[in-house]
């Protein structure tokens, strides 16, 4: 087979993969670099999460659990920021807690960034508990007294010296727990904390996990579910602050479309080649 016989259409089946890499890179790069956005439709699961927080009276406490690390950061960090914006906008108090030790710096970075935007004060409007090993045991012991596990905050400051913590002792004092999950910790939150303490919960999870935790929403064990970058984008739309979720969603959509276009091109090339070979 020599090159001259191959028609343009057939070449479509033999594109060097580096062209594919380049185009995928570009369709992800362009929306991010130029801030292109995508229109997003809000799903009921995310709306319900938003409403749960939106209904809270001023001064209520929201606990956000950072249960992810760098690998899931692209999906869950926009969620964290959108929820923090919502909380600070409504003058709710925020407590961050970590069950993945490696997520500690990531969560703290997001918290400080948004708090600065809203001019919030550490210890008064928000605080970070940090990480203690023990997973379920930590969750359960916080049901009686947070201080029985967290003697101090992330920097070791005693909890009682933080003004906002004066009246916060256990789940009775926390309005909603938001779990941002990349693993099984979300299941523990629901199975232990929601089940035993009737704690209101919202879960934000990676796209891969969304289908798995959906039954919790159906069963009413969680008040809302935010799934993947798409869910983050929806939440951003609700808090009226389109940010990375929207941009990321544009990249996401275009990348999907491009992959499908390549599949179509590949098939055109394949059928052309087959037709020629049959003709011979």
């Amino acid at each position: 087979m020599n090159g001259e016989n191959i028609s343009f259409w057939e070449k479509l089946g033999k594109i060097d993969r580096r062209w594919i890499f380049l185009i995928i890179g570009l369709v992800v790069f362009i929306p991010i670099a130029f801030g292109l956005r995508m229109t997003v439709h809000v799903s009921p699961a995310v709306k319900s999460a938003y409403d749960t927080i939106n209904r809270l009276p001023e001064g209520s406490v929201v606990m956000i659990s950072i249960d992810y690390d760098a690998a899931s950061m692209p999906e869950l960090q926009p969620m964290l920021k959108a929820i923090l914006r919502h909380c600070f906008d409504k003058n709710l108090k925020v407590i961050l807690i970590n069950f993945w030790p490696l997520g500690l710096p990531i969560g703290n970075q997001g918290l400080e960034e948004v708090a600065r935007e809203y001019g919030k004060v550490y210890g008064v409007d928000y605080m970070n508990l940090g990480y203690r090993p023990g997973d379920i045991a930590v969750m359960l012991r916080m049901g009686t007294e947070i201080r029985s596990v967290f003697y101090g905050d992330i920097k070791g400051t005693p909890l009682d010296s933080l003004p906002m913590m004066k009246n916060i002792h256990n789940y009775d004092d926390i309005a909603v727990v938001v779990g941002l999950e990349a693993g099984s910790m979300g299941d523990y939150w629901v199975q232990y904390v929601n089940a035993r303490f009737k704690q209101d919960m919202i879960l934000g999870v990676t796209a891969v996990m969304a289908a798995g935790v959906y039954p919790y929403l159906q069963a009413g064990q969680i008040k809302g579910l935010i799934g993947g970058l798409k869910g983050a984008a929806e939440y951003e739309k609700l808090v009226n602050h389109p940010a990375f979720g929207h941009i990321g969603m544009a990249s996401q959509s275009w990348a999907h479309v491009v992959i499908i276009l390549f599949i179509i091109l590949g098939n055109i090339g394949y059928f052309m080649e087959r037709r020629r070979k049959r003709g011979l």
Binding site: G25, V28, F29, A33, A207, V208, G248
Partner: protein
């Protein structure tokens, strides 16, 4: 544009680009990142392993423990030392002892766990429950799924010719498997693109400061 002035961000960015350069072709930058990565990985692994297993499970009980049963721990130490016999040409066969223990332990664990965690769990999920017929569409869906389970199992039937009914069932099983694999593949695309988005964000935001 606010390019980062933090040298660590620069290191991270350069390593990121070094790995991506592999997409074009192998080159010294990738080789650099690769060797650095492997070196870090083995050092990291050694530290983690030492501090997560040897110190808490061996050193602490032996050095600070009081229970007499702690001396049983000398058995795995002996087995572990036998594993080092591989350094000797003459006695390298001694490695078979720790391996034999490993194999026994593996089989011991995997047999009951396979029943409990996989076979029963999956079988129970497949048996159609009353609630699965709460509406006709759900009922049909569950029957479609049930056929998927059964025909897939028949595909893994090894000791008979795949002819007749078994052959037909196994054939349907392959179709199901292909449908499932396609769905899994398509489902994962989104998460994988997210990873690239994350790296782009790092390069454009943390490093180059092009986006807010």
């Amino acid at each position: 544009m606010h390019i980062s002035t933090n040298p660590w961000v620069w290191i991270a960015a350069i390593l990121t680009l070094a790995i991506y350069s592999f997409l074009y072709k192998d080159n010294p930058f990738y080789k650099f990142a690769e060797h650095l990565f492997m070196g870090l990985g083995i050092g990291y692994g050694a530290v983690i392993l030492w501090y997560n297993s040897i110190i808490p499970r061996l050193w602490n009980p032996l050095a600070h423990g009081t229970s007499p049963s702690r001396f049983y721990l000398l058995i795995p130490v002996a087995l572990g030392l036998l594993a080092l016999s591989i350094f000797s040409r003459r006695y390298s066969w001694l490695i078979k002892y720790p391996l034999a223990f490993y194999m026994g332990a593996v089989t011991g664990f995997s047999v009951p766990v396979s029943f409990e965690a996989y076979i029963f769990e999956q079988a129970q999920g497949t048996i159609l429950k009353h609630s699965m017929f709460s509406n006709p569409w759900l009922g049909i869906s569950n029957i479609i799924m049930f056929i998927g389970v059964i025909t897939t199992i028949t595909y893994f039937y090894f000791s008979k010719h795949h002819k007749g009914l078994l052959g037909k069932s196994a054939r349907v099983g392959i179709v199901y498997i292909m449908l499932a694999f396609g769905a899994s593949f398509g489902y994962t695309v989104m998460a994988r693109i997210s990873l690239l988005i994350g790296r782009m964000q790092f390069l454009l935001h943390d490093w180059l400061g092009i986006i807010k």
